[in-house]
């Protein structure tokens, strides 16, 4: 339980879920084409439904973070790379308002496969 005297420090420091580890090599790099796995788990996930099965391009590797799908259920941190992935509006929505637009979403490596 967070105590009153801990609040100031907690607000200032927060609690990063980053787990820097050079031994965990990234599977993907900037520019790689990837497809989001069509995963529909009954438990916790941060795999946004609108990206499932869609094809995108790796924009950036944010580094290694705790994996919420396992961690939230007490099944371990399973740290892995999280990527910013760019999806064209047409890929996501079919006939978007503008073909010029894109969505960048952050996805854990387990959510992705090569396209």
């Amino acid at each position: 339980m967070l105590r009153p005297e801990q609040v100031e420090e907690a607000v200032k420091t927060g609690g990063s879920t980053r787990r820097p580890d050079d031994r965990i090599t990234p599977r993907f790099k900037t520019g790689d084409a990837v497809r989001v796995r069509n995963r529909n788990p009954t438990g916790h996930t941060r795999l946004a439904r609108y990206t499932r099965g869609k094809r995108g391009v790796i924009h950036h590797d944010h580094g290694v973070f705790i994996f919420p799908d396992t961690n939230a259920h007490g099944r371990g941190e399973k740290p892995q790379h999280v990527y910013s992935v760019r999806f064209e509006a047409a890929e996501l929505w079919g006939e978007p308002t503008s073909l010029r637009d894109a969505v960048y979403i952050d996805l854990w490596e387990d959510y992705l496969e090569p396209a």
Partner: protein, 204 residues
Amino acid sequence: MSTQHHNAPESEPALRVKALESLLVEKGLVDPQTLDLLVDAYENKVGPKNGAKVVARAWVDPAYKARLLSNGTAAIAELGFSGMQGEDMVVVENTPTVHNLIVCTLCSCYPWPTLGLPPVWYKSAPYRSRAVSDPRGLLKEFGLDIAPEVEIRVWDSSAEVRYMVLPEHPKGTEHMSEAELAELVTRDSMIGVAKVTVGSKARS
């Protein structure tokens, strides 16, 4: 807070929050004094004035701006802002050819150390769904018309990184000091639903 008559019933969410709070306190899981301190922190101490200072600094100092865009967390911490829901920051820059918009479709993730707590509309289902599926239509409703040749990039804060927009430095402000510039930077411009103009005024 909203003006409510004393005899008007409280909204359902407010009642549920009160019930949850009582239960958690009763079970010794939450200290009510801690809650008061947290509310005080995010109502009175931490807010968009922080982000405005970051933006103004980036506008006047090109080296700072470069640091901000390459390592947001470290550059924001240089000005003394860090912590809860801002442990890993990425700042995205608006330019004449790119306009950025921040959303959390899954919940309401938001960069607390620089912007404070999110506005109610940011947490609403319509914002969260339309920001990704029809950003142009949504921005039009906010009074912002984005030219067809400008690319809109929507950043969905689906993991641990928190995003903030670095709005374009408005014309007609070249004579202003860093502090005066910070007064122009609105919360909405750092989310991406507004631009900063020489007539803007940050509310709080």
